[in-house]
Symmetry: C2
Subunit: 435 residues, 2 copies
């Protein structure tokens, strides 16, 4: 029996199932996008690293490698671009896509600027830090797309993997920034106070990201990560971090360490990419199996409901499923006595319980994601309002949390709420008060 010939109750039950399936199918596309973004970020990190070392050392023997990396980035760029273009911007009717589309617009804008940036780097125009910042902004934009993807995913298990992925990518990006900061210091022979603080901040940031990753990733991914963490490479990175912290204008080190630092960190970051690849594979597998499961569920459900509807065929009003009303009379205890009505109610109840469980699990996982976002936003607020550096803003937040024995995220939240109340009293943002 085609869906349209079914009684309305059963049609809506099927529609609810179909919604879930459609949500999974669009999630599968999103996961592919995330996988490609992970590749692009990795390439851009490499290109940033080589741009940095090329500009810092003004050494033309790096130019060849840099060109190779730029070409690789450009190739992956085209794939991501294709992915964006395949998104049906006209069809989407969910309002939560507005944020995703806006993030993508930002990335597209950044990608448009890359050719110019590359040309300027080859003309040795920007300082290393400027070039680094330009790449970092674009990578930040790409990570924001992954964030939105994780925040709007509709399957709890896949959301958990996306949260692990986002945090791992974020941690890896901080590792890339640490590599750049180290190159800056070692090539100069020492790290000043500001640069040392920056290193410290990047190290702590990585820890937080990998903690969340470990909480949400599968066991295999965590094992892979621990393997990296206990490798010789990382031991050497840690010892170079120690050296960096002991340098000063009066206690410089051999700038030759710069190449060693770069080399070791590159090895570490490349190894991290393996973890990302593993997560990406898991994501796609999960999407495939969840979709297959949802398809089978839908088919079963359709068969079952079709059978229930057949039992209803004798009644004069096919649409209103009126068979219930006649059998209702025979079981006055609870007003639904007959087997057919009971089955439908059981199915409805079961479906409702399941949807509730899914939405609880989603809410909990997204909470973690949003904690990170709240802290980032509170940090930005402090940076803007008090003209603090990122490091100082974070230190201020952390101190305030310790003093009041509150969680960092709760301090961030109350800070933002306070700022929002303040801005609600200004004439410009009275949107929320119209009702």
């Amino acid at each position: 029996m085609p869906d349209t010939a079914m009684p309305a109750t059963l049609r809506f039950m099927l529609a609810a199932r179909r919604c879930e399936l459609q949500g999974l199918e669009s999630l599968s596309f999103t996961c592919q996008l995330v996988t490609r973004i992970s590749q692009l970020v990795h390439q851009l990190q490499k290109e940033r690293g080589y741009s940095n070392i090329y500009l810092g050392n003004q050494a033309s023997h790096y130019l060849h490698q840099l060109d190779a990396h730029s070409a690789e980035s450009a190739a992956v760029e085209r794939q991501v671009h294709e992915c964006f273009m395949a998104m049906d911007t006209a069809q989407a009717n969910a309002a939560d896509r507005a944020r995703l589309f806006n993030r993508i617009a930002y990335v597209l804008h950044g990608l448009d600027e890359l050719p110019g940036l590359r040309r300027r780097i080859r003309e040795l125009e920007p300082a290393p830090r400027q070039a680094t910042q330009a790449f970092t902004r674009l990578i930040g934009g790409l990570l924001a797309v992954v964030f939105e993807a994780a925040d709007t995913a509709v399957d709890p298990s896949i959301t958990r993997l996306l949260v692990a992925m986002f945090n791992f990518m974020q941690g890896k990006e901080l590792a890339g920034q640490e590599r750049a900061a180290g190159v800056e210091g070692f090539s100069r022979g020492h790290f000043d106070g500001e640069l040392q603080e920056r290193l410290q901040h990047l190290e702590e940031g990585q820890e937080r990201c990998f903690d969340v990753f470990s909480e949400f990733a599968d066991g295999e991914a965590v094992a892979l990560w621990q393997q990296i963490h206990s490798s010789d490479t990382v031991a050497q990175v840690i010892s170079l971090r120690g050296i960096a912290k002991r340098t000063s204008a009066n206690a410089t080190v051999d700038p030759g360490l710069c190449e060693l630092w770069f080399e070791l960190n590159t090895r570490r970051i490349d190894a991290m990419k393996e973890v990302e690849n593993h997560l990406a594979t898991r994501l796609l597998e999960h999407c495939r199996s969840s979709i297959a499961e949802a398809h089978a569920d839908l088919d079963n459900h359709r068969t079952l409901l079709g059978r229930l509807a057949q039992m209803d065929v004798g009644s004069d009003q096919a649409l209103l499923f009126s068979v219930h009303s006649s059998t209702l009379d025979s079981a006055p205890q609870d007003s639904v006595g007959n087997h057919l009505a009971r089955s439908v109610l059981d199915l409805l109840h079961e479906q409702n319980q399941r949807l509730q469980r899914v939405s609880d699990e989603l809410k909990e996982t997204r909470e973690t994601l949003n904690e990170r976002k709240l802290i980032e936003r509170a940090k930005k607020l402090l940076m803007n309002d008090y003209r603090l550096s990122e490091e100082d803003a974070y230190a201020r937040l952390r101190q305030s949390a310790m003093e009041r024995s509150m969680r960092l995220v709760d301090v961030a939240q109350s800070l933002l709420a306070f700022a929002a109340r303040k801005s609600q009293n200004t004439p410009h943002s009275d949107r929320g008060k119209r009702a």
Copy 2:
């Protein structure tokens, strides 16, 4: 310039705007649905009341009125049914509609059972309480649809109104249940302990609902409500409540009070309907004006972006907006110097801020909605696990909150979290742990 000819960045910026508009348009339909549901609930409440008094008094002189109310209910039923049928169940691709569709399926199932229930009532078959329960279940299902509508709305102001509406409808429904409980007691001449507890519970429930309503509704609605609250009718209802509480098997009152009680409460409930009508009007007005605003915004945005794109026409790669890269070179300070790129970034930033604000406001408002849901779920859990009545379950929750000086909602949340952890350790519900 048609949207498709625009550079990709601008197209995605427009798509983000269009998402918001589409969200509003589908919200407008939802608000119409809510308005009709409010009518239907009101009719069903009347029909429940008259069924109740007809069954309680076995008085055939109520039959005529009951028939009239049943006919009115059936007419509004058809309108709601039409509304459901107009929902495009095949098109919807947002997973959050799954819950809504499932709720609608439940309502459709309940509506199918109404003709049988009506027949049985006329044959004086069910006890008054059974008939009341059957209507109450259906009304509960209709309220759940309103809940889902409020929970998935995408505009903060409209969400606030929907939260006010949902809570008011819920409060009015508890008033209807109070009317039924009173009819039961007064027609018997006294209220036993259980019935008195029930009255108390219904009275407190109304207070909570109307508190939330007052927090979220517009000033005019609140004024209307306060007018009812200080009316003579309500004063008389309050004094009858006092009488009910003083009755017992040894201290009965004239069963004639039953008609007075019914009459006064009916007047009170009918007056409440005016508040709902006001909220419904506000909802539709709000939808209309928000849609008009979003349309105008979209048009402005399209014109503005079209003009920006025109400035880009000279470049060889229309798609990649490559004009930036050439002008980028002239402003090395921050890698985006030119006016055009700056405008796009400003617009992106502004749009991002706005979307963030909207999602913050939505989150906050939905929080309130979910608090109610959490308490209801915790109550149901206690009712099932300890075989408690609704009143006792609520009393247990409240006591536990007082003892630990916690908010009721936090007690409910920890109870549910505990139950979820327990059930995660059983082999049947390992869905969340697959990742």
